[in-house]
Amino acid sequence: MNLNYDVIVVGGGHAGAEAAAAAANMGSKVLLVTMNMQTIGQMSCNPAMGGIAKGQIVREIDALGGYSGIVSDVSMIQFRMLNKSKGPAMWSPRAQNDRMLFAATWRKMLENTPNVDFWQDMVKEILLEKSRVVGVLTNLGIKIGAKAVILTNGTFLNGLIHIGEKNFGGGRMGEAKATGITEQLVALGFESGRMKTGTPPRVDGRSLDYTKMEIQEGDGEIVGFSYKNIPKPSKQHPCYITYTNENVHEMLKTGFEKSPMFSGRIQGLGPRYCPSIEDKIERFAERDRHQLFVEPEGWDTVEIYVNGFSTSLPEDVQFKSLRMVPGFENVKFFRPGYAIEYDFFQPEQLKHNLETKLIENLYFAGQINGTTGYEEAACQGIMAGINAHLKLQEKEPFVLNRSEAYIGVLIDDLINKGTKEPYRMFTSRAEHRILLRQDNADLRLTEKAYNIGLADEERWRKLQQKIKEIERVGEIIQSTSIAPEEANKILAEKDSTLISQKVKLHTLLTRPNIGIQDFQEISAIEYMYKTYWKESVEQAEIMLKYAGYIQKEQEMVRKMEALENIKLNTNFDYSKITSLSAEGREKLNKIQPETIGQAGRISGVSPSDISILLVYMGRV
């Protein structure tokens, strides 16, 4: 076997798979090392991609030339655009996926990617020369050389699974944990911590009574994730919603004594926004019911994922209480829910390119950085893959700003603030979210990705066409006038004020509930819909309809950029500035921000610390 690679990716989950694909597509020789070739692209938790803020991330990964969007589109069994009643910045694509098809598609796409080799083994050590990585040592005792190594270990590092009072080592149910790397990194001076996450029981769909549940259908029109034209399924699977009740809660409480959560056996930090069912009952005792989403695992399986019932209570308590949920009276389990603890490394130890500050050419991506979620992991993977390649080519790092992408927000948050609980993206984390929409990820990112050699010609050409069309559609909308006799019937239907004389069409679009599709009967608009892509029309409409808010946001970005342009020395001893708060000094010394703007985002650095820095820089 070849024992020398440009980039070795350790782990084949969402982060590892994207990292391998990106580095390989840019031209690096890549080896993907995974403990199990059968679980590449595995959805360890729920069989779904996207959602609010996460769907935007998948669109961004796709716009950069990553695979997650395509894999999601190919394997989806249901699609919904969430938050459609809100403004376009909130629209969020979400898909239910066929778990097995998702993983199979990932593996197929990687196999079809030139420059990606595979090796099934456990990496137990990274090989170093001074403070630079030079390869990995596997459990079989094989040394494989590499110029860069990307660690995407997920929940496998010293993974510990809990069900009731039982616990055992494992990275996922039925899969061995990985050992050695944490111990080595800690010995090298890295700071590690423990996190916790959980997963609900999987049950037999044939044992459920769906007539007692609410049905949740997919959208009539599937938008999907990829900007490429990926065929969408012609039919969709429904999901169902049901609720717990007080009997369920009482039954769950009988297991609290044996709960690893409450007994203190679990020490890792769990996410507050993805609590276990026992956590919900304990913390929000006033709620008499909690929602459960009944999600099918695929086209050809009866397996069901009970979203909302994540638990590590003893399996008999899980079983008895779930049987009290409407529709679940005769439920049969495939396997119980469990909690898992694993090692992570505070991401403040990384640079903006996801390279570790301590070891050159060593990159971390995914849950190892304290994040949660497939989308969060995948976007770190693609960024680590890109940057590992660029660094080997001695090129500038590829860093996205907070105003350019959710990916930029995520990485900037991680390296500046670290995280106390598994980090998940929310739209509210993005201060410029009005600009970071699912509809314009290609406009924001594809050109950048094309310029570094990742996004392919097809994406580039489609983008250029779209830009032209948006411009043309904008002109049509702005030059089209509409007479009262054409408009008033439509306006009346929408309860909107009637017009008394001819007006420009775009002035009507600024009204909250009026859209361009309402005027399809006008010949110019009818022609426009026939001639141009729907997404071009939609984009032009959004740009006109929300122009005021978009401009205001862009103005704010410009103001922030002023602070981003004030550079700081990244090797400065802040303890010399005694007027900084103690925490500010410590954090600034640890992070060594590159700009005043970045300094201001570090947790523990207060505005008065920033004022003091500005005083030092002679700006006050």
Partner: protein
């Protein structure tokens, strides 16, 4: 980064330029005591205890410049946290300047404007808002200004803002909940409750903004206008009010006589008489019926003294008073002058009648004989103190804070507007962020974590 050498010794005159009884020259820095010791004839300042005062002579080589008192204050318990020397000398500008010149020759450097305060700030002695308050203290000339500045330093203002900010964060959390967790089974906020909350916060901020206007008034002096018909005694009244103050204020050189004469300090509150130049001109044609015309000029007055001749028919006087278009927050005092010409009980009757007809504070007075002038002063000071209680416990006195509050106010007014238009939350959030940023200028820090923390602590989120 610019160099961090903040240890060099700086010197400046700490008292205002101009002649006075005493002047104070201050030195701060690593060598402050050594530099002072070189020019001081008396005890060896390098060996004396900290926070002690020493008598001696300020020398330029062998020549005595002045007889001085030198305070030796060693680090760190000083304003700048550095070694500090304060030299009190006679208040002649020639002497003070000569001494500074000698100190410069002996190793000190002339301080830049505000550099002492900046050092205090940089060495962690005070925070930014305290630094601004210190700047205000330096500028403060009267007791009430001092109270205002002290209050700000104690953090009363920051606390008020922190409370507002928390309310706003909780409000933002409700909106964000609807955006980021719309798929979840959470009860969403009642929009009318949200609107009420916004109204409340707007009202709070408006109060603070008003207090700035009031705070500003305190700093610059409460503007008072004296109006009335010609020859009614306006000029005499002004002189009567200013009489005892003149001797004190006219000692301050470098300010014009007019300026001095138009300011009056009563119990530590500064009053400023508007447009008094006009009153002094005998050719002034201000007449009772012409008041409305000249009113434009007097709009900025907080207190209006309407002066009338007590011998005029009281109904006419009352009618003229009632015709004065007062603004909100403006107080009017009716003064019936020349009461020395009238027997006491009659003067009292006129005072009573006009007070009843106008509902205004009315006082019979004789500017000429000083009758009831002290009573007028008491009325003036009571008015200001009452206003201060009504306005707010906390006062905004700093232009930067004022502007931040204005920004927050505008943003919240947008939110109110958007709420009524039923606009999607993310657009409101844009304004809320701006409002929170506005408040963050004054105290504390806004991070998205605050909003998320508020969500997670209050709502059951997560599948």
């Amino acid at each position: 980064m610019t160099n961090l050498n903040k240890q060099d010794t700086i010197v400046a005159l700490s008292t205002p330029q101009g002649s006075s009884a005493l002047a104070v020259i201050r030195l701060s820095g690593e060598n402050a005591i050594a530099v002072a010791n070189k020019v001081f004839k008396g005890k060896n300042l390098l060996k004396v205890a900290s926070h002690t005062i020493h008598y001696g002579f300020f020398m330029d080589k062998n020549e005595v410049i002045d007889e001085v008192m030198v305070a030796v204050l060693r680090a760190p318990r000083t304003f700048t946290t550095q070694d500090t020397i304060e030299i009190s000398c006679h208040g002649s500008m020639y002497v003070a300047n000569k001494m500074i010149e000698v100190l410069l020759q002996n190793g000190a450097r002339l301080a830049e404007a505000g550099e002492f305060t900046r050092r205090a700030f940089l060495f962690g002695r005070i925070d930014l808002s305290q630094a601004e308050a210190v700047a205000d203290i330096i500028a403060a000339e009267t007791q009430s200004q001092h109270h205002l500045a002290i209050q700000q330093m104690r953090g009363g203002f920051s606390q008020k803002i922190a409370l507002l900010r928390q309310e706003l964060i909780d409000f933002t959390a409700l909106l964000e909940l609807e955006l980021d967790f719309s798929e979840e089974d959470v009860a969403f906020a009642d929009r009318s409750k949200l609107a009420n909350l916004v109204e409340q916060i707007i009202a709070e901020i408006e109060t603070l903004i008003d207090s700035f206007r009031y705070g500003n008034v305190i700093k610059k002096g409460v503007p008072v206008a004296i109006i009335g018909a010609p020859n009614v005694g306006k000029s005499t009244l002004l002189n009567a009010l200013l009489q005892e103050e003149k001797a004190i204020v006219s000692d301050i050189a470098g300010t014009t006589r007019d300026f001095i004469e138009d300011h009056l300090v009563i119990d530590g509150v500064l009053f400023r008489f508007i447009d008094t130049a006009g009153i002094r001109e005998t050719s002034d044609t201000l007449e009772v019926l012409g008041i409305a015309r000249s009113w434009q000029k007097l709009q900025s007055a907080q207190i209006v003294l309407y002066l009338a001749d007590i011998e005029e028919p009281f109904k006419e006087t009352a009618a003229a008073v009632n015709a004065i278009p007062l603004q909100k927050n403006q107080s009017l005092i009716v003064l019936l002058n020349k009461s020395d010409k009238m027997v006491d009980c009659h003067a009292y009757d006129v005072e009573e009648s006009i007070a009843t007809l106008t509902g205004k504070t009315t006082l019979e007075i004789s500017a000429k004989t000083q009758r009831n002038v002290d009573k007028l002063k008491k009325i003036l000071i009571d008015l200001v103190l009452r206003h201060s209680k009504n306005t707010s416990d906390v006062q905004v006195s700093n232009i930067r804070h004022y502007e931040a509050l204005q920004k927050a106010l505008v943003a919240l007014q947008n939110v109110r507007q958007h709420l009524s238009e039923n606009l999607s939350n993310e657009f409101m959030s844009q304004d809320l962020r701006e409002a929170l940023d506005g408040l963050a200028v004054i105290s504390g820090e806004i991070s998205n974590e605050d909003v998320l923390d508020s969500i997670f602590s209050r709502f059951c989120i997560g599948k």
